[in-house]
Symmetry: C2
Subunit: 422 residues, 2 copies
């Protein structure tokens, strides 16, 4: 491909994973200062290697265009000087975040004098499978490195030249500060067989985080034997309660649906109390210009141009300028509708009623429940985590936006003075 490869081509996926695993032990021992120095060195080297990276990227873009890729795919793939500057800024920002490793989560003394503490440690090897955008190579590696983990990455074939160029620079930065280059291993064999092997390196990989669409998630559920955390779909609802401030509800619905419809925390469904539907729905529908509205009978009767919704519509994450609407008679019906269709991501209620807010927060089972705020706020940056590796929609290990802390495990340290058990 005319690009410098960052590993010997002969290594199997298992061997590459083992290399990352060996490196992870060195990373776990490295001080915060050393890891931050690697991140800052990587930022500098990225800027310095800009021309090489852009050249590799031009080859990826040309290949995508000749394959007939859509404009939006090409757009996500294409790097510019500004995007590389942004990647470098991202690396420096992550370097500036507090180090989660070594944090003491708790400690206590047992009646027998045994002293127990629980501390944060790196997970070890974090494997990430991601689609197109080459900046993920840098963003993901930065979060892994900051949290003391080795990054084991598999990008898409469409971005392989760009990813190799970026990974080469990041590996150089690791070496520059005396850390093992294999703290970042990018897999270059992008065959299906290699994908399955990637998901099954149970002896070497500590967690797999997929960043991609439903087909990737399905493949992981079918094939992965390593533990994984799913960055799943967001079929997010906004419930407009009887007591809602309707102007507030209007602004939040428009924001959550239209500000960036392609992301997982955009709203996909609107649930309106019958008492306010007549006032609210025509107004908000008019403001949702260009949005395709589907709804139940009562919603359609109040919205010009709305068409009937199917059960599947209510269960669908449109990721587009489309919204489903349902009119309900009370909060119980509203919560039932949300619970039936929720993907467990982010669910909001607009209300002025304390007991309605409390009930919604308690009964709706999702990573985030919001009161009088747009679902769009549910992400790592907006939560103040400084960076985000994804948003977990599962309940084990991490739930909701995942920052550096979610890339760690814990270890108990037990200190005695010759204690034996009776």
């Amino acid at each position: 491909m005319g690009q410098p490869t960052n590993q010997e081509g002969a290594d199997t996926i298992a061997e590459l994973a083992q290399r990352a695993n060996r490196a992870s032990r060195e990373l776990a021992k490295a001080s915060t200062d050393t890891r931050d120095a690697a991140l800052n060195a990587a930022a500098e080297l990225l800027i310095a290697a800009q021309e090489t990276i852009l050249e590799a990227n031009r080859a990826d873009v040309a290949a995508a265009e000749s394959d007939g890729a859509t404009a939006s795919v090409v757009d996500r793939l294409r790097l510019t000087s500004a995007k590389i500057e942004a990647m470098a800024d991202g690396l420096r920002q992550v370097a500036g975040l507090p180090d989660p490793v070594g944090e003491v989560l708790g400690g206590w003394v047992r009646p027998n004098g045994l002293r127990i503490s629980q501390v944060r440690v790196p997970l070890g090897v974090v494997a990430i499978i991601y689609e197109n955008r080459p900046n993920v190579t840098s963003d993901a590696a930065a979060l892994c490195l900051k949290s003391g983990n080795a990054a084991f990455l598999r990008g898409s074939s469409g971005a392989i030249r760009s990813n190799i160029a970026i990974a080469t620079v990041l590996r150089e930065a690791l070496a520059k500060v005396g850390l093992p280059e294999d703290g970042l291993v990018l897999v270059e064999d992008l065959s299906r067989q290699a994908a399955v092997e990637f998901m099954q390196q149970r002896d070497s990989i500590d967690v797999l985080i997929p960043r991609g669409g439903p087909s990737l998630i399905e493949s992981i559920q079918a094939n992965a034997t390593v533990p994984f955390v799913l960055d799943g779909a967001g079929n997010c609802h906004i419930v407009v309660d009887e007591s809602a401030d309707l102007a507030m509800a209007h602004d939040i619905v428009v924001n959550a649906k239209t500000q960036r419809p392609s992301v997982c925390n955009a709203a996909e469904s609107l649930v309106v109390h019958a008492a306010v539907a007549e006032t609210f729905l025509p107004r908000v529908a008019a403001a949702l210009e260009g949005v395709d509205i589907v709804g139940d009978g009562r919603a359609c009767a109040l919205i010009d141009g709305a068409s009937p919704a199917t059960a599947e519509d209510y269960a669908t994450e449109f990721l587009d300028l489309k919204i489903s609407v349902v009119v309900v008679d009370d909060l119980t019906q509203a919560i039932d509708h949300v619970q039936r269709n929720s993907s467990g991501h982010s669910e909001a209620i607009i209300t002025n009623d304390v007991s309605a807010a409390d009930r919604f927060c308690a009964e709706v089972d999702a990573a985030a429940v919001l009161v009088n705020a747009s679902t769009r706020f549910v992400d790592g940056e907006e939560f103040g985590f400084g960076a985000e590796i994804g948003i977990s929609t599962q309940k084990l290990h991490a739930r909701g936006p995942m920052g550096l802390r979610e890339l760690t495990s814990v270890k108990y340290i037990v200190r005695g003075a010759g204690h034996t058990r009776h």
Copy 2:
């Protein structure tokens, strides 16, 4: 089988899981008082139903004996009045523990005024597969109920009559306080096919915790599609450093190896610094009466009756009166040996050297690292958790002894005043 069944026999595994899932929503809403009342009622009803349970158990024991089960299997299976009293006490003890649900783990206000908090919530449905001992039915259900989860249980066929009798009583207790009986669902179809289905109810089960031997763990790794937490093997080491108090080391090694050799936190391997091997090994070997000792050349030269260890010996969790011994030249060799063979459970060092203790704690990658204490202390009771569902040897979600907190997930609650994102 002549026992009251606690579900209609016609339900499929998927239907049973769905019933537990529906019940889990009610349990999640129930107050601490109600859940504690159910636990206390269950304790009372267990005592009251003692004769029915013992009768069912006698049938299980008779079947096991006629199948030629070993004395230790029969012993673990057999219930007595005292064991039922102990189960009832266990239920009351769990009722007395602090409720993890609702704990606020943190909260902060964003610069834009958005208020974010993270609270503990039940996981939902906790599935547990366990082997023989019928008291697990009661113990596991208690921990699930206390933490607001529904319990979805599959015991062994050898204990099915006892398990059904116990589950029937626990379900009665749930109903007595107005909670859904399906807060505890015991699967009665114990075919292999049903086992695989049990592990694949991804829509209904939130976590699977296996409590059993290597073949169960293998089956779960091969078949499970639900997230699981492994209660894995403990190939635990004790490193006796050059600077160790040898009398202390002696007592700890004897305790960790012989006090209860069949459990996962018993020591399986001894790693001795060459500088103290000559003094220490003959003495400790003499004290390890009845223990089969295998070792490397240097160890065997110092221990009467020791035989050469294979690489497999060093990697094996004996769960028996057997120990592997290796002599090393320094702490680096000791840590390497531990890291190469550790199952990530509990690893101890006996030392008086601060830097050796610090290095061991930092570099050994295990759920628990101990300094100058027996590995036998690594369990939920000894850690002060009041109860234990298992000991996780994986790094995701939970690591080390798992108590009530490890049976919970988290939820973010976000409160705004009409916040929209720019």
